[in-house]
């Protein structure tokens, strides 16, 4: 009877919690894995989209020697940056742009027939009359049978264009440009500079709080830094927009205060509490025996800090740096609000930029679900994921090496 009871008791207190813990562990891993798979599958779907807007085609006159146009050329043609066919290896003729809507100013509704049944024919005529035309037409009205019409083959969005493209114009027509470089550059610029500000400040503050401040100062400052972590990022963004941006604009005499630098400063302030709290905890966890050993050998307080406390706390300090960096790279709202949101490759810190998280947040609302734009945003998510992973892996490696040196 007694043994039975104790076995039953053991099942309740040990087996079941063990089982539950096992389940929750594997469930979490599974969910993370599924999210990653979903992210990458959606993201890489982008490359099966045509580079010209879905449902539309580009037509030229059959005599035009141009066989193929890449997205960049299409964009420049329709922006009138290219005005001569010669530029894209065609004849020496000025480019004539023709957008579908223009047909309605050339012909009345009656002329186009019932349900626009004559529309393709009329479009065919327009193209036939103009050897220098390029027409952007909905697929359903394309005059496929007309003699003088050449439909340009539609390419798929290319991986290389995505990763090396310098223009992020996902809503441009007829051909969107998904060049991710400006966003990556914006993200890296803002985050790296934020970390360059936050890390020395944060570690300095952590050293001060854990080693130098007396108990009373610590009791006031520690909760205050922790409180700082709880402020929602919109509030930081609002502060940045209302106070910091005008200040930076005035003092540096810039055209706008909404710059990468403003974003970095706000991000640094936001990452500080994380860095300070974790690094300080790690340093305070250095056993008293270690400090006393160092001091008892005639080490000064500073020698003890950088020869014993910091090496001992190095893994915690690395964690602080990684989490701080993670926050800086992934932060959305505040950055969106203060960086001016211009998707161009920045040449200095004092220009507007757009970061990856800000692009996702700002554009997801206007991107139709399942479309190329939508998928491109998922791909941005993947890039963000890879960047964060690289940061934590390299931090891990660095701290391991540091530790080896210390030993």
């Amino acid at each position: 009877m007694r043994t039975k009871k104790s076995i039953f008791f053991k099942i309740i207190t040990e087996r079941i919690p063990e089982f539950l813990l096992g389940i929750s562990g594997s469930l979490t891993s599974l969910i993370i894995l599924l999210i990653i798979v979903f992210l990458f599958r959606e993201g890489f779907g982008l490359f099966s989209n045509p580079s010209v807007e879905k449902g539309y085609v580009l037509c030229v006159h059959a005599s035009n020697p141009v066989e193929k146009l890449n997205p960049d050329q299409i964009k420049q043609l329709f922006d009138s940056e290219i005005t001569d066919w010669k530029t894209v290896d065609g004849d020496d003729l000025p480019v004539m742009l023709f957008r579908f809507d223009e047909i309605f100013s050339l012909y009345s509704d009656e002329e186009l027939g019932e349900n626009y049944s004559l529309l393709p024919q009329k479009l065919g005529e327009v193209i036939a009359e103009n050897p220098n035309i390029i027409a952007f037409l909905p697929e359903q009205y394309v005059p496929r049978t007309a003699e003088w019409v050449k439909i340009l083959p539609s390419e798929q969005i290319r991986v290389a264009d995505f990763f090396t493209g310098k223009d992020w114009l996902p809503t441009a027509t007829p051909s969107s440009l998904y060049g991710v470089l400006p966003l990556i550059a914006g993200t890296l610029l803002v985050s790296i500079f934020a970390i360059l500000i936050a890390l020395p400040l944060g570690l300095g503050a952590a050293v001060y709080l854990s080693e130098l401040a007396n108990e009373r100062t610590r009791k006031i400052l520690k909760p205050m830094t922790e409180l700082l972590a709880g402020i929602p990022s919109v509030v930081y963004g609002f502060f940045g927009l209302a106070v910091l941006a005008p200040l930076i604009q005035k003092t540096l005499n810039l055209p706008t205060g909404e710059t990468a630098f403003t974003g970095s400063v706000i991000l640094a302030v936001m990452a500080l509490p994380t860095i300070i709290t974790i690094a300080e905890d790690a340093m305070r966890n250095t056993p008293r025996a270690m400090r006393e050993a160092s001091l008892a050998l005639g080490g000064t307080q500073w020698q003890t800090i950088y020869k014993v406390v910091i090496p001992y706390a190095s893994s915690g300090i690395t964690a602080a740096a990684v989490l701080g960096t993670g926050r800086a790279i992934g932060e959305t709202m505040a950055v969106l609000m203060v960086t001016g949101n211009a998707a161009v490759i920045p040449h200095s810190l004092f220009e507007p930029v757009r970061t990856i998280p800000a692009a996702i947040a700002a554009e997801l609302g206007e991107a139709p679900a399942g479309g190329a734009h939508y998928q491109s945003l998922f791909l941005l998510g993947c890039i963000l994921f890879v960047i964060t992973m690289l940061v934590s892996v390299s931090a891990e490696i660095i701290s391991k090496q540091k530790y080896k040196e210390a030993v």
Binding site: E215, E292, A293, S294, A296, L297, G298, G299
Partner: protein, 248 residues
């Protein structure tokens, strides 16, 4: 030589040491015994000013090392601690290699170049009777040593900076009997060069290693005399009770 005069020490409002005056001669081993919480460690930690680290404490009286007041304004604490080494109750090597542990004190005090440090490390490990056991493991982490080896490493570490006084707070209480007897032998050897003050809960150990013994109770120094006299023929009844209680 250490001499204290009318030492009172307070943790906040609590008086941990009451009017203690005593003299510890050079090249002798002085043992502190007494029930737990009577202030032995507090008293010992006065001699290298380790109590300075604890906030909200207060000290009155004088504490002299070789006739010099170690609490005088002109005293540099890190210089003092170089002269007064300390070995703690639990072995507390740094998470560094065996070599770097011993070299630490030399490095922080800028004592000598690379070859001098290497020589000094070897000398110190030999003095701590550890050299033969670790000479092939100098680059290994100190944590790979046994507890007794770690404690002797801590002694070597303290010896490396050439102190004149060695304070030991229950240096063998965390060790097995064989390691303990090695430490005791070592104390015998070191006595020739250093002034040693040791706190211990082990009566036999006090009797074996020390020349003089001080018995503390509730922050007071009850009796201080030659070890033989304390253990064979104490003057105070409290001492007698404590010793016999422990022996019996």
């Amino acid at each position: 030589m250490i001499e204290t005069q009318n030492i009172n020490f307070y943790y906040g409002d609590f008086q941990a040491l009451k009017n203690i005056s005593m003299k510890m001669d050079a090249n002798t081993v002085t043992a502190f015994i007494g029930p737990s919480g009577c202030g032995k460690s507090t008293f010992l930690r006065l001699f290298n000013r380790m109590n300075d680290l604890i906030e909200n404490t207060r000290l009155t009286g004088t504490c002299l090392l070789n006739k010099e007041n170690i609490y005088h304004k002109s005293i540099q604490v890190d210089e003092l601690r170089k002269k007064v080494g300390m070995v703690f109750q639990k072995p507390n090597p740094f998470p560094k290699s065996v070599f770097e542990n011993v070299a630490y004190g030399l490095r922080v005090n800028n004592m000598g170049n690379k070859s001098y440090i290497a020589q000094r490390v070897e000398e110190s490990l030999k003095a701590a009777a550890l050299w033969d056991e670790v000479k092939d493991k100098l680059k290994k982490s100190a944590f790979e040593l046994s507890g007794g080896q770690q404690q002797r490493l801590c002694i070597a570490r303290a010896l490396a900076v050439s102190p004149s006084v060695l304070l030991m707070d229950e240096p063998a209480s965390a060790l097995d009997p064989i390691s303990t007897s090695k430490i005791e032998e070592l104390i015998h050897l070191l006595k020739q060069k250093y002034t040693i003050v040791i706190v211990t809960h082990n009566m036999q150990q006090a009797a074996r290693v020390s020349d003089k013994t001080g018995f503390f109770m509730l922050g007071e120094l009850i009796e201080f005399n030659d070890t033989k006299k304390i253990f064979l023929n104490p003057e105070k009844e409290q001492t007698q009770n404590y010793i016999t209680g422990r022996f019996g």
